[in-house]
Symmetry: C2
Subunit: 374 residues, 2 copies
């Protein structure tokens, strides 16, 4: 493809920092670069505590362990999401109650959540699709009234914000009790494979460190709080190599530059495709007034699958790769017979009609726009 869907952007310092990590001889996890990344993100976005993980999937799994899922517990999340959002809770024995998407946006329909709550509901997992905030006031209010946890799936939501009714602007991932971020190569800020758990409710901090360190109190040991460390809880090896953290650090140092460039591209798409979209009954992304835009993704929503697939083919003929996104999880091979049978029409519509355009730092955007319009 002349124009791929995604191309990882390198700031130039990644290999330098990786080399530095390797030369210092500390290449397992939780070293200098891990600390640099965690502190930077905590300070910049006001998270309670940050722990780097090997993937966003792993951060979600940590969250599922932290809230003590028992078999049969129910978790409410959108059906239009990545499999990991659901798998993290499935692995702990939970049942997933899938919600539909908003009419104007693929994010969870906040007004549909309350009817899905039962005595077994343990948490709501809003997914900030395309890095655009869900209505967090509504979700936090429902959670508080029903004593539920909120775990933000902020995989795509780095450097994106939500402004609440109180007028306060908060970073996505800093609002729920816990939040998971991705640094997969397809995201704005990358480390190949990688993720992070943000812990905003203090009750989880101590145990999160333990679960992260394979169920041991090794972190306390290194702080001198205990004289030897041992097995105190369940856990896994969630921490990434310092090599991965070093790569991430080079990206974080250039976060502002990366974000400015992506926003510029995103706004060109919006301006240049506006007339074409109206003429062709195509919807462009909607950013609700409470949300900011982190330019993670530019997508089109067609009136039907035929017109979408026609554009995919048209772009492909010009060597441009555009891709659809999630298949509805509630009707997947794995979950169809576990789902309660409710139709989720908006989810199915986005599955069939949404198309993502190429979006990366070095994109030659004019070529894509010309190919769409022609």
């Amino acid at each position: 493809m002349n124009i791929p869907f995604n191309k990882p952007y390198l700031t130039g310092k990644e290999t330098h920092y990786m080399y530095d990590a390797v030369q210092t001889g500390k290449i397992s996890g939780n070293g200098k670069y891990t600390q640099l990344c965690q502190n930077f993100l905590k300070e910049k976005y006001g998270f309670g505590k940050c722990l780097l993980t090997t993937s966003c999937t792993d951060a979600l799994e940590m969250a599922a362990i932290l809230i003590n899922i028992e078999p049969g517990d129910e978790i409410i999340m959108p059906s239009y999401t990545f499999v990991s959002t659901a798998n993290a809770f499935i692995l702990r024995g939970a049942k997933i109650i899938f919600a539909d998407s908003r009419k104007d946006h693929p994010g969870i329909d906040e007004d549909s959540i309350e009817a899905l709550i039962s005595a077994k509901t343990k948490a709501i997992v809003p997914v900030h699709y395309a890095g655009v905030a869900c209505n967090m006031d509504k979700i936090m209010d429902i959670a508080q009234r029903h004593n539920l946890f909120v775990i933000e799936d902020a995989a795509q939501a780095i450097d994106s914000f939500y402004t609440g009714k109180d007028g306060k602007k908060r970073a996505l991932g800093s609002i729920g009790h816990l939040a998971a971020f991705s640094f997969h190569e397809t995201k704005n800020i990358i480390s190949g494979e990688g993720g992070m758990l943000a812990i905003n409710d203090n009750q989880f901090i101590e145990r999160a460190e333990i679960i992260w360190e394979k169920g041991t109190n090794r972190s306390s040991f290194f702080r001198g709080e205990v004289d030897k460390y041992g097995w105190v809880d369940m856990g896994s090896s969630f921490l990434p190599s310092e090599i991965i953290a070093a790569f991430l650090w080079a990206q974080l140092e250039n976060l502002q530059m990366i974000q400015e460039r992506r926003l510029k591209l995103w706004n060109i798409y919006l301006t240049e495709l506006d007339d074409w979209a109206k003429e062709n009954s195509v919807s462009l992304p909607v950013i609700p007034s409470f949300a900011s835009n982190n330019a993670h993704m530019f997508y089109l929503v067609f009136k039907d699958i035929t017109s979408r697939d026609k554009i995919i083919a048209q772009l492909k003929s010009k060597n441009i790769l555009s891709v659809f996104h999630y298949l509805s999880l509630h009707s997947s091979k794995f979950y169809a017979n576990k789902h309660d049978g409710r139709n989720l029409p908006e989810t199915d519509r986005y599955s069939e009609c949404l198309l993502r355009l190429p979006m990366f730092y070095e994109l030659d955007i004019d070529k894509v726009i010309d190919a769409i319009k022609s």
Copy 2:
């Protein structure tokens, strides 16, 4: 410390290959370097199939998912092991039945296994401590008679072998139904954090790929076997970044050289400490006739904790770091009240009396030997 306990050895090509992976723009998992590593290890050691993972912990977790652990299932493993051996099964709801160690070696006492089997037993997890084989004929025979799975915890056992009664020499990790390896920076062959699942029973291959790819049939999709991929099973993000695989590839290319050097060091320890050990009632490592030695670790077993701690202090005073190893898992804070109360005296003895000496490629071994003897 002048002489640390471990120092990661770099072959010189690690940063070159990492740079190559980064420049090609494929830095998420399952790319060129992942394939190179997986194929090399499969061919060299006769594994059925290899899948790189972000850690040995994650490989064990994949194994636990693959054998379909149900809450209440029992898993037999030594108490003298790393927490991850147990956590992987705990996370699936299993109960751990801890076995004692051999009198002559910290590995599982094979003769104690059969008495621990109940109607709920699902698997035996032999841990090849210090890279030295357990008696796999005995273990496989027990497993076959009782219809149990065998999952080799081969975290320390790269390039180590077992010779069975049939006279055939097999690589550790190629004998059980499944096996988990570690490439953590403390191992012979490293990638910072990293691991691998070896799959020897063909019934697990297809599902292992699915679980590895977050519960999707993405691998089948890329082989052209299905026209789109979706959610077909539970799973997680077990695959490491290509950056990690690239690092590992540089190590694997130099495996023979690394192993020769470690074996040379190990044999110097054995020869030089023989008389001293006899005079001081210290046991040196025993390699059973059915096992090979991969020189992962050189350890001493003292007659009591006092004499061990004296040597730790003596070495520390000369800026040499020697370290004890596992604390008995059956009496850990997390598991003591879940354990069935059996005493495991050999496990406790190794917990109190075993000491690991520095062992790494660039070790100045004479200094350590002199410090011990003085």
